[in-house]
């Protein structure tokens, strides 16, 4: 923060706010509204929602704390920020859980209306952090939000419980005042959200306005701040987008570009359910969604639909992928297009359902019985999930193969401004089904130049044929136990998948293309890596980064790019799975793994420190 004084309005390049409260306090809504308004006024931004797996952990307790971090900026940013400048704490638990992250000298807004002895007890605090020195070194703004909301909504018909539920909008109004944001976007949202209960829309508007006015009237703060619109964003039309939504839209777009009806078979699972919910609302795009009885039925229905001529999708998280494994093997064997989305979360087993991780990479590449190669691609940011999903569809139909699309909890729930692609830039890849009654008969396991087999739709005269999981004879597809044929078919499937390399670009190196350290990343580490490289290059370091969308098969010429650096650092939210893959593919390279397995994304500062330690060697 480099403040430039201008009367009582200070201007900042970039600000990080973390809203924290009980999981019933509506902090996710508050954060999302602040984000949306900031997007509409033209800031670049990035968000990090962090909430517990329990829907309502016991009220007021530390495990029940839900947080939403948003960074908004007048310059190009890539991460939601390492440390908040402002912490809004709705209760003692939210305060104590989050205060150690706040920047020294940062602002902490505390709702003192929730600091009774019993509130402190629920948060397992013997003394009030408001008075015991915990908050020394911070600028503390104390407001009894409970009381202020009650006053503001005195004239309404709402019950006192309903009144207290408007606290988050009071807080939002206060932050809108502090950072010079307009209320209109949220007012519009409230009117739509509560169209059937206008009294709730009205109450929340009143609460927000009261919060906004409080900034003015009560002189809680020394002044106001502003973060100007980001002028370095490339020209275009933008919208604010969350990863799960972008991914769902990418699947719809991919199916349209292929000329196919999309079919999603899915079973609810955190953090992937948002994809099923989003696609269920796209019926007017012809999307068929099937909420199956379990993960297995979800993928099997999608593969059945693919056999029948739809573009099949299934979306899940790691535990669901484990259940789908057998059907993924069948998809490899019957060679039908299918996109399997894994929104990764902390593992193993149920693990950390609402936290992020990248530990399913090896499961994606290798985790099946038999020789069962499947291409794997990974989204790197919320907006990137759109393009990556389209790419997954392209590979699936052009190579007649299942494709695994990796996202993670950080991408799924994070948001950023998305420059909408121009329709004419989305290149169609139309599917050609086999025509009826082909001359010379039909061979279900013949191959084209990409080694893909033909797609014959049931219902087409003259193409009656049988497929299944037993090994098939080359060309005819009849059951075959012939030893030579089996090896031939194993190699055929392997060569087909490895051949995808021919259709994917070698990624560009960001920063220096020769130097001391090349950081190789994949997935949601993109933002932190890019920020770290920018920071180090400003200091004159010779560093670059390479981010992989196609993680299997790997693009060509990576070895040449890596060879231009003294060492290669691979930061991952796992124990070094990509590093292991790269070492086996490129044994001559000096590959250093940098694992982090805490259910939390990398911080830019952590990466900078790690890279600097390598530079000193």
């Amino acid at each position: 923060m480099n403040p430039t004084r201008e009367r009582d309005v200070q201007s900042f390049e970039s600000v990080v706010i973390r809203f924290a409260g009980d999981s019933g306090d509506g902090m996710q809504i508050t954060g999302n509204q602040f984000t949306h308004t900031s997007a509409v006024i033209g800031n670049d931004l990035a968000t990090f929602p962090d909430y517990p797996a329990e829907i309502r952990a016991p009220a007021g307790t530390r495990p029940g704390v839900s947080g939403f971090q948003v960074r908004f900026s007048s310059s190009d940013i890539h991460t939601p920020g390492d440390q908040p400048d402002v912490l809004v704490a709705m209760n003692p638990a939210a305060l104590i859980v989050n205060i150690h992250d706040l920047k020294p000298g940062g602002i902490v807004v505390v709702n003192t209306g929730q600091f009774s002895d019993s509130d402190l007890k629920k948060a397992a605090l013997a003394k009030s952090p408001l008075t015991d020195g915990t908050l020394s070194g911070f600028r503390v703004i104390e407001i009894d939000i409970n009381k202020r909301v009650t006053e503001a909504l005195k004239g309404t018909t709402l019950s006192s419980k309903e009144v207290q539920r408007c606290k988050n909008f009071y807080t939002l109004g206060l932050m809108y005042w502090l950072y010079h944001r307009p209320l209109e976007t949220t007012i519009k949202w409230l009117e739509e959200k509560f169209a059937k209960r206008p009294e709730l829309a009205e109450a929340n508007k009143l609460a927000m306005q009261a919060g906004y006015n409080a900034g003015d009237i009560h002189e809680l703060f020394q002044g106001r701040y502003e973060v100007l619109p980001c002028t370095s964003m490339p020209p275009g039309t933008y919208r604010n987008i969350m990863g799960n939504d972008a991914l769902a839209m990418g699947l719809v777009a991919g199916a349209q570009l292929a000329g196919l009806q999309p079919f999603l078979g899915s079973y609810p699972i955190t953090p992937a359910s948002g994809i099923l919910e989003a696609l269920a609302a796209y019926k007017h795009y012809g999307v068929i969604t099937f909420q199956a009885e379990d993960e297995i039925a979800a993928i099997c229905s999608a593969l059945g639909a693919a056999y029948a001529g739809c573009l099949g999708f299934t979306s899940t998280s790691g535990p669901g992928v484990a259940l789908k494994t057998e059907a993924m093997g069948l998809a490899v064997s019957v060679e039908l297009p299918l996109v399997i989305v894994n929104v990764q979360r902390g593992g193993p087993s149920t693990g950390l359902p609402t936290k992020t991780e990248q530990a399913d990479l090896l499961q994606a590449i290798f985790g099946r019985n038999g020789e069962a190669p499947i291409p794997v691609i990974a989204a790197s940011t919320p907006a990137d999930a759109f393009e990556t999903a389209v790419e997954a569809c392209r590979i699936a139909v052009q190579y007649m193969t299942p494709v695994i699309l990796l996202s993670d909890g950080y991408i799924a729930n994070g948001a950023e401004p998305w420059m909408l692609p121009r329709i004419e830039d989305l290149k169609p890849f139309p599917v050609k089904f086999v025509e009826p009654n082909p001359e010379g008969g039909f061979q279900p396991y013949a191959r084209d130049a990409k080694l893909a087999r033909p797609w014959a739709k049931p219902g087409t005269p003259g193409l009656e044929h049988r497929i299944g999981g037993l090994e098939k004879a080359h060309l005819t597809g009849n059951i075959s136990y012939d030893p030579d044929n089996h090896e031939f078919m194993v190699r055929m499937r392997q060569n087909k998948v490895m051949g995808i390399r021919e259709s994917i670009p070698t990624p560009n190196v960001f920063g220096d293309s020769t130097g001391d350290v090349l950081v190789v990343g994949w997935g949601s580490t993109h933002g932190a890596i890019t920020s770290a490289i920018e920071e180090l290059r400003k200091k004159g370091r010779k560093v670059g980064s390479l981010h992989l969308r196609h993680v299997w098969p790997l693009p060509k010429d990576l070895d040449k790019l890596m060879a231009c650096f003294r060492s290669v650092l691979v930061p991952e939210m796992n124990m070094g799975q990509m590093a292991r893959v790269l070492r086996s593919e490129y044994p001559e390279q000096n590959i250093i793994s940098y694992p982090k397995v805490q259910g939390q994304p990398f911080r830019t500062t952590e990466l900078v420190k790690k890279i600097e330690s390598l530079l000193e060697k």
């Binding site: 007017h284 795009y285 009885e293 039925a297 059945g304 639909a305 049931p458 219902g459 193409l463 299944g468």
Partner: protein, 332 residues
């Protein structure tokens, strides 16, 4: 439909060698199914057979139609995907007592409750055949097999009771040794709109030979079985002189003249359930025929109706609309 009318049983035989054990009951079922396919008025390119894993699940390879031999227990999910993707297809699912009720019991329950328009043939031989003779979820208690050398302690499940409990809209039972009966039942299943569940008693002569002899052997069959025919008196016996009457919840053997009329379309599946539970009473005839046949909304049709409704109220979705939905802003 000209092609469909001209079809014969031979048109439905594929070029693959049938590899069931000589004398297996599956041959009779295959023969019967190929026969009725020629008469249901659907061209063969519109027919799709789906199966899981097991002896019965090799069935699709022997039908000259579209076919998908999937994975163990999951055929209902594949069939649901296929039928939903293309409701014009006539989708048939072939499964067994292990595939359909053990590993795939969950999926079976859900396809039945959803009422997807799929015809399900469950070959029940009360044994695991393809894995060479272990007890199945329909094996009688005490059955000695390789994995139950002292007799199975599992209590068996009754497939018809299970299907009724899941809310199936068509439930029937037939037997591999009674071709004419099988043909009638399968034709009724073919014409039912919604999920049709047909249990077919099928003899495995290698691992469980004679499992159904007590009531199905030709010399005793007429007296030990009863054919439930919709809206017909419940009569049985070689001379059709015996009948069934339901007193309260208990069926009782009476004279033919006193027999109740069988109604498979009562509001409650209760009567059908009473019939299905006669299996465990050896003094009563084993019921075959049509236990249940009721009309209900069909899953795949309802789903497509929603899609059509969404398209007509919101207008068909385009890429432009997809991207630009919600609030956007422009940077110049």
């Amino acid at each position: 439909m000209a092609e469909a009318q001209a079809l014969t049983k031979k048109d439905f035989k594929s070029d693959q060698d049938v590899r069931w054990c000589p004398g297996c009951g599956d041959y009779a079922i295959l023969n019967c199914v190929q026969g009725i396919m020629a008469s249901i008025g659907v061209p063969k390119h519109q027919i799709c057979f789906v199966s899981g894993i097991g002896c019965s699940s090799r069935f699709p390879y022997y039908m000259n139609t579209f076919g998908f031999h999937s994975i163990h227990g999951r055929a209902p999910a594949f069939a649901t995907g296929i039928k939903t993707a293309n409701p014009d297809l006539s989708v048939w699912m072939v499964t067994g007592d292990g595939d359909g009720l053990s590993i795939g019991g969950n999926h079976m329950a859900h396809i039945l409750r959803r009422n997807v328009d799929v015809k399900i043939l469950l070959f029940n031989n009360e044994i695991y055949g393809l894995t060479k003779g272990q007890y199945s979820p329909t094996s009688p208690q005490g059955l000695k097999t390789k994995t139950s050398p002292m007799g199975s302690v599992d209590r068996p499940m009754d497939p018809v009771s299970f299907a009724l409990g899941c809310g199936a809209t068509f439930v029937a039972r037939t037997i591999d040794t009674h071709l004419k009966h099988m043909e009638q039942v399968l034709l009724a299943a073919a014409h039912h709109k919604g999920t049709a569940f047909v249990e077919i008693y099928q003899n495995c002569l290698i691992f469980n030979d004679g499992a159904f002899d007590a009531f199905a052997e030709k010399t005793v069959r007429d007296d030990k079985t009863i054919d439930l025919r919709p809206n017909q008196p419940m009569v049985f016996g070689k001379n059709l002189d015996k009948g069934l009457k339901v007193d309260g919840w208990e069926p009782r053997i009476v004279t033919a003249a006193e027999a109740d009329v069988w109604r498979p379309d009562t509001h409650s599946p209760g009567p059908a359930f009473v019939m299905s539970q006669m299996d465990s009473n050896s003094t009563m005839p084993r019921p075959l025929g049509i236990f249940r046949a009721v009309a209900a909304p069909i899953f795949d049709a309802s789903l497509h109706e929603q899609i059509q409704r969404a398209k007509s109220t919101k207008g068909p979705g385009t890429l432009e609309k997809l991207l630009h939905a919600g609030e956007t802003w422009t940077v110049r």
